[in-house]
């Protein structure tokens, strides 16, 4: 049996074994917002915008659809009050955390969030530290030039010792995959001398 049947918003959907709920939803043209998900790299479940509600009678639970495996007979809802509450607060916090990102503002507006109760700390900030750049560099490019540094509220993206590294070959994958446009600016903090030369050769 290679096909799984379950419902999303009461609509029956079919998934292939191994698919996640998000992959199934996309296949069926059901929109679930995400920022940190990209099919090229391992899902990390970091941004939590893709939360959906699982229901079974009175029982209900929120899961991240980008990592939740499709399973026979489950009932998934993408727009419940609880889901919207999570999304609304994440968007509000993102608008304040990365106010310079056009991409975030557009996605938030699409979900009806156009303002935030929170004060922005840095009006030029675009990065939300989802780690896609680090994952693509490690998993796809195979170089690991980018690190996720520190933890908790201090977490950020950078090269070791926060100095440009010649491990970077300036391939630009991180810039392309970045969902918020932040890597365009951060790129120079990672790219070292060797990489600069390589780019010039490539040009």
């Amino acid at each position: 049996m290679n096909e799984i049947t379950f419902t999303i918003n009461d609509q029956a959907v079919k998934a292939r074994r191994g698919w996640t709920v998000l992959e199934t939803a996309r296949e069926c043209g059901i929109h679930i917002p995400t920022l940190c998900h990209h099919p090229a790299v391992t899902p990390s479940g970091a941004c939590r915008l893709c939360m959906v509600e699982l229901r079974d009678g009175d029982w209900a639970k929120l899961v991240a659809s980008c990592i939740y495996p499709a399973a026979e007979g489950i009932h998934v809802y993408t727009d419940t009050a609880r889901v919207k509450n999570v999304r609304n607060w994440i968007f509000q916090m993102l608008l304040a955390a990365a106010p310079a990102s056009r991409e975030i503002a557009e996605l938030a507006a699409r979900h009806g969030v156009t303002g935030t109760r929170f004060a922005a700390k840095d009006p030029d900030e675009m990065c939300m530290v989802c780690g896609l750049c680090q994952r693509v560099c490690e998993e796809v490019v195979g170089l690991s030039a980018i690190a996720v540094v520190d933890r908790g509220v201090h977490k950020r993206v950078g090269a070791p010792f926060m100095q440009p590294t010649d491990v970077c070959v300036a391939c630009g994958c991180c810039v392309n995959i970045c969902p918020t446009g932040a890597m365009r600016k951060l790129f120079d903090s990672v790219r070292g001398e060797t990489a600069t030369k390589l780019t010039q050769l490539a040009v």
């Binding site: 490690e138 690991s144 030039a145 996720v148 540094v149 520190d150 010792f161 491990v167």
Partner: protein, 166 residues
């Protein structure tokens, strides 16, 4: 980095099999020998364990006990567990910050003091607790702190004088 230090780093690296799972063990041992993890030592650990530098750097910045800069001559740690918090631990931090002119987590410019906070040392019965150079001081107050700092300064001055005479 001196030849001597390099040899010591190599000795530490030889204690464990050169596999990625030993990264944290190695960084801990290097820190306990040198007081911090230098760029050079981190690079050597990476070479031997086959861990990319980015991962070692992530690990070293993720865990609170790792230090990437040399620490001061005296290390002062203020416990901020719940019991210590209720009994004024945060006030002690602020007091020390004023007296030493550093923020928690920093080392003074003259490299004499490093001020740190810790989350619960499990000595809640004698809160608030301050640890100075590994010695526990129970039921700490701002006044006792001042006395202790004065004693420390006096001891250091005496030692400096002795060294000067010799």
């Amino acid at each position: 980095m001196s030849v001597c230090a390099t040899a010591e780093i190599e000795d530490i690296i030889d204690r464990y099999p050169g596999r990625p799972e030993y990264l944290i063990f190695l960084l801990q041992d290097i820190q306990s020998s040198f007081g911090y993890i230098s760029q050079e030592s981190m690079r050597r650990v990476c070479d031997r364990t086959g861990v990319p530098l980015t991962r070692a750097y992530s690990v070293a910045t993720f865990y609170q006990s790792f230090r990437l800069d040399p620490k001061g001559e005296h290390e002062i740690k203020v416990c901020l567990g719940t019991a210590c918090h209720l009994k004024g631990g945060q006030r002690l931090v602020e007091d020390l910050e004023r007296r030493l002119g550093v923020a928690a987590g920093e080392t003074s410019g003259d490299m004499r003091f490093t001020l740190d906070t810790v989350n619960c040392l499990g000595a809640c019965a004698i809160s608030p607790v301050v640890v100075m150079d590994e010695e526990y001081y129970p039921n700490m107050t701002a006044r006792k702190l001042e006395k202790q700092l004065k004693a420390l300064n006096a001891a250091d001055a005496a030692q400096a004088k002795e060294a000067g005479n010799a």
